[in-house]
């Protein structure tokens, strides 16, 4: 492989790295493409601010850890501090076994579809690519590990249990952080390389490998379970686990010496040695790794990662649904009627096919929020807690009741070609979920009444109008933002601030009536009548607005 090839691979990898780093910078308002002086000053400010912030958070966490450990130290002596590295070893080994299990199923080398064409098809050195990808992945993981290591180091310094340091000076803090890092970093990289060795070995494509990989998965599961039981038993000092003590001590030796300072140089030499051996083995076996196979296995996962980073949860759900649906299905036996009722048939078929536990969970969230609102509003009479609950309930209802309509909008070509009025389309998509939400709300009222928490009849009566109003507000806002070109790409916008404001107006009206009835002692019948008239007016108005907006999509 010539240096130009290496340079190209490094360029692609560094671009990917900068792009993912740029994502975090975008979140704090920094644009990596802007080269003005002001932006550089802002970058400097971001670096200083977040360095200080991270340091403060680390000190806070280390203080919390030290305060948690301190009473045990006083009671059980300094040997108790050794438990922290033991727990660390347990977590590290379990994490490593879990990654090995995963690597025996899916490639640790993650490539996008673009990488599949740009890199995997080229005759570039597989060893170089493997190691470049390994370091890229490892760097993103080590940041968190380093932070956690430093926090433990600071806590031990505060507890006065390591290196005999007694002063909290900057130099001592640096030693308390760097000494454990010196051992943890090579160990982590070594373990990471072990995981990759399994993954890369599997990507060599030998037919016998499937049996080996299955055996590895079984072995790793047994090892993980056994190690967990032995470690916990040993930490809790059960005599049955005493014979395993030397083995556990050997395993936790690097971490104990990293944090408590015993035989630090020896531990450093061992961890660096292990790291070099693991990397060398990886280098040796990765010469014929099948990158196309790696891309085939991981491009879906990579696309999900990107969608997650962009907050595109619709895309993630879509990808998961496709995976779950598989390739084919026998035709639905559900009888269907012609005309607009076919929309209900389609909705039922779609709902049955995309049914998951998480979909029940979202209904349960609405139910729990309703129960919480009743407890807070009726029992505790606490308005401060009630508002965030109402807000969350409104958002959840808007999301849940409009999800089918948004999916249909994403199929704009077919939806637009139907000889059905916008009213029928909206109603067929909305009525089932709105009805279910109303029934769920009335159920919570019934449960509350059974428990002795009486709900005012005006509130009970206003439920259908409020829920229909919230849904139609969200629908109107979605349609308001919709554009034919975006919809034809299969994307539909989500509701925003306008939808929320309209929803709160729908909630506010019955609340206002309830307030006025109580304040001026008006007959409840008048309040009920006013609720029906005003609620009905609002719902009909929103329906008309939504229909008009639907026709104006262009």
């Amino acid at each position: 492989m010539n240096s130009a090839d290496r340079q190209s691979i490094l360029t692609i990898r560094s671009k990917q790295f900068i792009s993912s780093f740029g994502y975090w910078l975008t979140l704090v308002g920094y644009d990596i493409r802007d080269r003005s002086v002001l932006t550089y000053i802002y970058l400097l400010y971001i670096i200083v601010f977040f360095s200080a912030w991270i340091l403060v958070v680390m000190f806070f966490l280390s203080d919390l850890l030290a305060n948690t450990i301190a009473p045990f130290l006083a009671y059980q002596g300094i040997a108790f501090a050794g438990l922290v590295p033991n727990i660390g070893t347990l977590l590290l080994v379990l994490w490593c076994l879990y990654l090995i299990y995963k690597a025996a199923i899916r490639s640790p080398l993650i490539f996008s579809k673009d990488d599949a064409y740009l890199i995997c098809q080229t005759p570039a050195d597989r060893r170089f690519i493997t190691l470049t990808w390994l370091f890229g992945e490892w760097l993103s993981k080590i940041v968190f590990i380093s932070g956690a290591t430093s926090v433990i180091g600071f806590a031990f310094l505060e507890l006065d249990v390591n290196y005999g340091i007694r002063m909290l000076t900057l130099g001592n803090l640096a030693i308390a952080s760097l000494k454990p890092l010196g051992i943890i970093i090579p160990i982590h990289l070594g373990l990471f390389a072990v995981v990759w060795i399994i993954g890369v070995y599997r990507l060599k494509g030998d037919t016998k490998l499937s049996v080996i990989m299955r055996s590895i998965r079984v072995l790793v599961s047994i090892m993980g379970g056994s190690f967990f039981i032995i470690s916990i038993g040993s930490i809790l000092n059960y005599s049955f686990f005493a014979p395993f003590q030397p083995f556990l001590e050997l395993l936790s030796f690097p971490l104990v010496s990293a944090f408590l300072g015993d035989a630090w140089w020896l531990s450093l030499a061992v961890s660096i040695g292990l790291m070099i051996i693991c990397l060398a083995v990886l280098w040796k076996i990765s010469d014929k790794v099948n990158l196309s196979r790696a891309a085939q296995e991981t491009h879906h996962f990579q696309a999900q990662q990107v969608a997650f980073r962009l907050g595109d949860f619709d895309r993630i759900n879509e990808m998961n649904d496709r995976k779950r649906l598989g390739a084919s299905h026998l035709p639905s036996k559900l009888p269907s009627l012609s005309g607009a009722w076919i929309l209900t048939w389609k909705n039922i078929v779609q709902s049955l096919r995309s049914f998951t536990i998480s979909r029940i969970w979202s209904w349960l969230v609405i139910f729990l929020l309703m129960i919480s609102m009743i407890i807070v509003g009726v029992l505790l009479k606490n308005g401060y807690f009630l508002f965030p609950l109402i807000f969350s309930w409104t958002v959840n209802i808007s999301k849940k009741t409009t999800s089918r309509f948004r999916k249909d909008l994403g199929n704009w070509w077919q939806l637009n070609s139907l000889p059905l009025s916008s009213r029928l389309i909206i109603l067929h998509d909305l009525v089932p979920s709105v009805s279910l939400t109303i029934l769920l709300t009335w159920l919570t009222f019934w449960i509350s009444s059974s428990l002795g928490l009486s709900i005012n009849p005006i509130i009970v009566l206003s439920v259908p109008f409020v829920i229909a109003g919230i849904s139609l507000s969200a629908i109107f806002d979605i349609l308001r933002q919709s554009n034919s070109n975006i919809l034809q790409e299969g994307r539909s916008p989500d509701f925003g601030l306008v939808g929320l404001i309209l929803s709160f107006i729908c909630i506010g009206i019955p609340t206002l009536i309830y307030f006025l009835i109580n304040k001026f002692s008006i007959l409840p019948v008048v309040g009920m009548l006013a609720t029906i008239l005003l609620g009905g007016f609002l719902v009909i108005s929103l329906q008309h607005l939504s229909e008009r907006q639907f026709r104006r999509i262009g």
Binding site: G326, N411, W413, Q414
Partner: protein, 216 residues
Amino acid sequence: MITPPLQVENISYQYGSYKALQETSFMLNNGEIVIITGSNGVGKTTLLKCLSGLLLPSSGTVLIDGFNLYQRECSAKRRLSYLPDYPHFYQELTTWEHIRFISYAHSVEHDFEQRAETLLSEFDLTDSKDMYPHALSRGMRLKLGIILCLIRPFSVLLMDEPTSTLDPSGTAVLCEKLSNFSAEGTAIIITTHDLSLASTLGGQTIQMQRGHFELC
């Protein structure tokens, strides 16, 4: 006087300040086929989107069998069929269920199964009738889009690059179908880069240039 299936009056479309489609008026009589060609980005797809009601034009009206597409939408859409260049589908419905959905939505459930089976067989999709759209190849998805367009009743048929990813046998079947529909009185507009399609169908070929074209 017989109402022409498609009448377009002063239609234009602007993306912001860019005029993608210049003001145009034309009409198509029963059985007429028009093939629109032209370079990428001249406005072929924009024109078809405006004619199908997917895009609301900046000015002008479209009449399908005398029904205004933007005012009497349902009546107009009962007589109009449109195939986009990249058709999207419901991911939870199979090929067969898509055909059923479109047929029933257009209230043409009578003989639905027989007609659907015939179309699937003609476009070589019988074996894929239980497959989800995401499991179909690009060409197969286009064939499904074509079937969805042809299974419903229509007097105006608009197709945006219908042969772009079709295999030769699929193209031949489509050409035969289009000729039959034309003979039965359907007005057809097709945009394509495939010049041989025009000679096969025998329609009028029009070269579109920068959002402008003229139909004699």
